[in-house]
Amino acid sequence: MALPATLVWEIRPTNGTANAGGGFDPSVASPGTDFSQQNAVQQAYTDLIIDAVTNTNITSVARAFSSVDVGNGISITGGTGFTTGIYNIRSVTGVIATVDRAVGTTGSTGGTGDLGGARSGFSVGTTTLQASLVAGQKAWVKNEAWNEYVNLTVAGATGSPITIEGYNTARGDNPTGANRPLNNRAAAAGNALDLQGTHHILKHLRFSNAGTDGVKTTAGSVSLFVNCQSASNGGVGFNFTNNPQAWLVNCEANNNTSTGIACTNGATLVGCYAHDNTGAGISSGTTLIDLNSCILEANASHGHTMGAGYVLMNACTLDGNTGASADGYNASTPIRAIIMNTIFSNNGRYGANVTDGDNLWADYNDFSGNATAARNPASGAGAFPTGANDQALDPQFTDRAAGDFSIGTNLKALGFPGLFPGGLSTGYLDIGAVQRQEAAGGGASRGGRIIGG
């Protein structure tokens, strides 16, 4: 056997303990008391004994096991004949605890280990949590001061992802802004998070000030990030260079020393915010990148740059990406691209700039205040298409300097689709990532959300 997929981990970066048991399995038969949701370990053993016959059974004289321990983790840290590792107590008979797998050599005595308590990190302890993860498990991270290099190498699986979710004061409180746990690397070398396994879900987490990238994925992850932020790192914010199928919802990449979000091998981004990066807001390669309702602004290079690849850009706002060579959208020769409902405004050169735009379909976009021109080429072979329903109107952002890109009345209800095929339905979508906020009652919003938390 091995650690169960139903095990739930608890990480409290400041108040947890490196070698704590760290997890609890509520699905075990007759679960006891969850000792993982407490700062201190429940018991620090120094007299563990492995049963003389069965090497999955352990006892202690100093603090006998009982039914309250069932489902809890125990981290074995040493002792002759003991195999270090994090184990899970599956049952207790009398004072004998049966764990999920062999603990060592039968008859061994003097084992050390900690029962219960939250872990202080993924990378700490005699046996690390990150090495102990199993597909299907979930780890909660409490919002406490946090600084560690996290390297997740264990893969999840289809239907059994590994989920890591941040919380502020209570599990599931869906924190936003500064209430999300922040892994602040304080300029330590390397990345804050390396994600090398597939099928991970990360929610409500922040990564900052890493010497290199905030988040980097490799080895083909199929990962989902929700409400995460990667800021002020020495390299890229989210670096999915080697990661097919990265999915980001409501994520923010800002103030990074390189690109905000780099996704060479395809990605889907919804409601994301890439801003104030030293490089481009987003870069992509040959594989399809799907940008929905994203804001790319105030980057020191392009808003979105891509080579010969595929893009679906819908309802985005690309504003104020400056420099004589910086465009809102910059691409060589898109192989196939659909660009619609997007605002290209106040960029340093062109709103949209391509080497060859013949494979593009673009319409229902707004071009305003781009320093050199709206489109390049503007006409002739390879031109970036001018849509019949394009606009050249001031988006009337509510407060762009303060990051509020909700539009005024100019672009209200001018988006695609208007009249649907068949002529029975008509849409009235606004153009841009953030819909118009009516003076009273809010309203008229396509899926209201908090950008970047």
Binding site: A187, N209, G211, T212, A231, S232, N233, G234, G235, N254, N255, N256, T257, S258, H275, D276, N277, T278, G279, E297, A298, N299, A300, G320, N321, T322, G323, A324, S325, N346, N347, G348, R349, G369, A371, T372, R400, A401, G403
Partner: protein
């Protein structure tokens, strides 16, 4: 925003444009750089000249910026191309301006300057080869703060990108 109608330019601006291919930016024109309008001291796209801080604008990348005392600057991008670039002119004591959540990459941070939650990394822009052998630009990190730069770190690597003219 800027005035791109040449008929509304002054004679001096038209003369300047005929000589340089662009005219000097007027205060308050945003974005501060485009193909035909640039700050007077614009050298190239990685050294874009001096502009004033304005709460209406957040992207000051590769510019030198004048900021009045008493200002709280929040969430702005002051990225510079080369480490230890003297890019911020505070027209008062250094501690009279507070930077919060700003990108101060490659900015020389003078003693007393207040930076909270900012990226102060120092990194060279360099050209490297990608997996297919093509030249690509990347950032080569050297220090977390301008105070940590050694003389050797301030020397440009041979593959550094130092100029980008348009």
């Amino acid at each position: 925003m800027r005035e791109l109608d040449h008929n509304k330019w002054t004679d001096a601006e038209r003369t300047e444009f005929s000589l340089k291919g662009w005219r000097s930016r007027r205060p308050g024109e945003w974005p501060p750089v485009c193909s035909v309008v640039r700050p007077a001291a614009y050298a190239h796209d990685l050294r874009r000249g001096v502009i004033e801080y304005d709460p209406a604008w957040r992207n000051y990348s590769n510019h030198t910026v004048r900021i009045p005392p008493g200002t709280i600057v929040r969430g702005c991008n002051f990225t510079q191309n080369q480490p230890d670039t003297d890019a911020i002119i505070i027209t008062g004591p250094p501690d009279s301006v507070t930077f919060i959540d700003c990108n101060l990459c490659n900015v020389r941070l003078r003693p007393g300057l207040i930076a909270q939650g900012c990226n102060t990394a120092q990194a060279w822009l360099v050209t490297t080869k990608d997996a297919e052998g093509k030249d690509v630009e990347d950032r080569q990190w050297v220090a977390r703060h301008s105070d940590d730069l050694t003389p050797a770190m301030k020397v440009a690597p041979v593959n550094a990108v130092l100029d980008r003219s348009f």
